[in-house]
């Protein structure tokens, strides 16, 4: 479980670099267009790819850091043991199947984008899409794993208090 925590953190570091790159791309495009009257063909693609990839990549980290907002005023009224049990069940039986299934589709999408050489549908630069989809599917897979870890921890806590 520690390994998965570390994986989530490592992906967040990658996402952090993407934030800085994103700032760089924006500035580069504004300068190219406004100062040199020579806009790039690729800045808009980089913008959405970095923006999209960075939030998916940090989703697992956000879960580890309890950053995904929940409304817990009702849950707070329950006894600790029951609360952990419910949380674990929701994570394991409700969230996990959904995210696992979506991760599976994402991975297949990355593979088929690679095999078919898919490119962006509207851009003039028409970048290949498989790197973007690969990053997205890594982020989603890490999130699914982190959900599993969260559920296991919840169940462990519920059991400990019981003992």
């Amino acid at each position: 479980m520690k390994i998965i925590d570390r994986l989530s953190s490592a992906l967040a570091v990658v996402a952090g670099v993407m934030v800085i790159l994103l700032i760089g791309v924006m500035i580069y495009e504004v300068v190219c267009r406004y100062v040199f009257n020579a806009p790039t063909l690729w800045a808009s693609d980089m913008t959405y790819m970095l923006g999209g990839a960075l939030f998916v990549l940090s989703a697992a980290f956000a879960l580890k850091e309890k950053g995904h907002v929940s409304i817990d005023f009702l849950a707070q009224m329950l006894p600790d043991r029951l609360r952990c049990l419910i949380s674990g069940l929701l994570m394991a039986c409700v969230a996990l199947p959904a995210f696992t299934a979506i991760s599976w589709v994402a991975a297949n999408k990355a593979i088929s984008a690679y095999e078919r050489g898919s490119v962006d549908p509207v851009s003039a630069f028409a970048p290949k899409l498989w790197p973007f989809y690969s990053v997205i599917s890594i982020g989603l897979a890490a999130l699914s794993l982190q959900i599993l870890v969260t559920a296991i921890r919840d169940f462990t806590k519920a059991a400990q208090r019981h003992a």
Partner: protein
């Protein structure tokens, strides 16, 4: 193949998950997943991934990490607190000076972005520590930040207004112009409330102490030059670059983020630890906000595919209302949907229902558009379930309770309803400026 009953059941299912404590974004996604399985079978995950993909591929959302990063950097580097200290010196005699400053700052940045959550989180990160430091009451802080942050969608340019105009088939420029006066009115009401409340209850927003008032003018000017002006220059770089056509709204966020790094460098606060802490906060908050957007998009898609629109239409038909009553009921439905759905989803679902009614009844679609946007805005803020409260939770200090937040926003909700009433009674507030739109 429509099954409006199933569409209707999605809401109780969603509320149940949220109230049991599953994160809001997970609840949206899991509900969409469950109902997609029922209506699409084993290709449901494809359907859901497609909408995650479309959100992840939308460049306008790239503004969110950039604005959040701005707020986080200014907060972690200590610039935000210095900025608010300086503003406080000037506004100190005014009751609730910092609340006024926070609302004004929201209003200015609202002109820079229309992305839900971005302004709220950015200004919130900067203003909450400063306001707490000077012992402002938690509910006033919460209300100020949620209400101020929600202005981003109102004050032009705003992506929501563009989406609304496109869906309602009205002029984008006219819609921008029409929303301007009502949004300024809303800012005025917000400011008025904060001022009045702190005048009546000074303990909720304490004024300057006597020794602070005694600070000599040249010292005040020095603090202003050092702490206030550079930050203001940053604000104008962001908003000004949009107004001057130098940068698109999304790019302006990048200009602001770079400006923040430079500013931090200028103050000698640029350390690896500051940069990492700011980036870390950016990532956690961006992931949280964006996953809610993703969940909302998935939820809306499945709701619509199951006949959500037919559900609302059928409900309206069954009530057998006059066109005017129908429109009022639709405003109510908009507010209800706003409990969980994002802005754009509501616009996409509701406008096609009432657009033909408006046109048949000869009602000005621009005027009604302003009413609808204010209504959505209000639902965005109204507890118990409100996106603005979800976003505030992600940056709220531990001693700020959900109860304080929920009560704190209520007076601001009343301000918004007041704006709704004014626009309803005096359509000129919306239509007057549209006659000036032109190149």
């Amino acid at each position: 193949m429509h099954d409006p009953l199933m569409a209707g059941l999605m809401f109780p299912a969603l509320f149940a998950l949220i109230l049991l404590g599953l994160p809001v974004s997970f609840s949206l996604i899991a509900t969409a997943f469950g109902f997609a399985l029922l209506s699409f079978g084993d290709i449901a995950p494809n359907q859901l991934f497609r909408f995650l993909d479309s959100v992840a591929s939308n460049p306008t959302y790239a503004a969110i990490p950039l604005f959040v990063f701005m707020g986080a950097m200014l907060e972690r580097s200590g610039i935000a607190v210095r900025l608010f200290d300086a503003m406080r010196l000037w506004l100190g005699r005014l009751p609730g000076g910092l609340a006024l400053a926070a609302i004004s700052m929201c209003a200015i940045f609202a002109a820079g972005t229309g992305i839900v959550g971005a302004v709220e989180v950015m200004v919130g990160m900067m203003a909450i520590p400063a306001m707490q430091k000077y012992r402002y009451s938690n509910d006033l802080i919460a209300g100020t930040i949620c209400a101020g942050g929600s202005l981003g969608t109102m004050i032009p340019p705003s992506i929501v207004v563009v989406v609304y105009a496109t869906q309602a088939q009205v002029s984008i420029g006219d819609m921008f112009a029409a929303i301007l006066l009502p949004s300024l009115l809303m800012v005025a009401f917000f400011l008025g409330y904060a001022l009045l409340r702190c005048a009546v209850r000074p303990q909720d927003g304490p004024p300057l102490a006597a020794e602070e008032l005694a600070i000599p003018l040249n010292e005040k000017l020095r603090i202003t030059a050092v702490s206030l002006l550079p930050a203001l220059a940053l604000v104008f770089a962001v908003v000004g670059s949009i107004m001057a056509g130098i940068a698109a709204p999304t790019e302006a966020a990048g200009v602001g983020a770079l400006g923040t790094i430079l500013l931090t460098l200028l103050y000698g606060e640029l350390k690896a630890s500051v940069l990492w802490m700011a980036t870390r906060a950016t990532l956690v908050i961006t992931a949280m906000v964006m996953l809610i957007v993703v969940g909302g998009t998935m939820f809306t898609s499945i709701f619509q595919a199951n006949g959500g629109r037919q559900l609302i239409q059928g409900f309206l038909d069954a009530m057998n209302l006059t066109p005017n009553q129908t429109i009022l009921v639709i405003l109510l439905i908009i507010m209800l949907l706003g409990f969980v759905l994002d802005w754009i989803s509501i616009v996409l679902i509701c406008v096609p229902i009432y657009d033909p009614l408006l046109r048949a009844a000869g009602i000005d679609p621009i005027w009604f558009g302003v009413l609808a946007i204010v209504a959505i805005q209000t639902s965005y803020l109204t507890p118990p379930m409100a996106p603005s409260l979800f976003y505030l939770r992600s940056i709220a200090p531990p001693d700020m309770t959900y109860r304080q937040m929920a009560f704190g926003v209520m007076p601001f909700v009343l301000c918004q309803l007041l704006v709704l009433l004014v626009v309803f009674l005096l359509p000129g507030t919306a239509t007057w400026l549209t006659s000036f739109v032109g190149f």
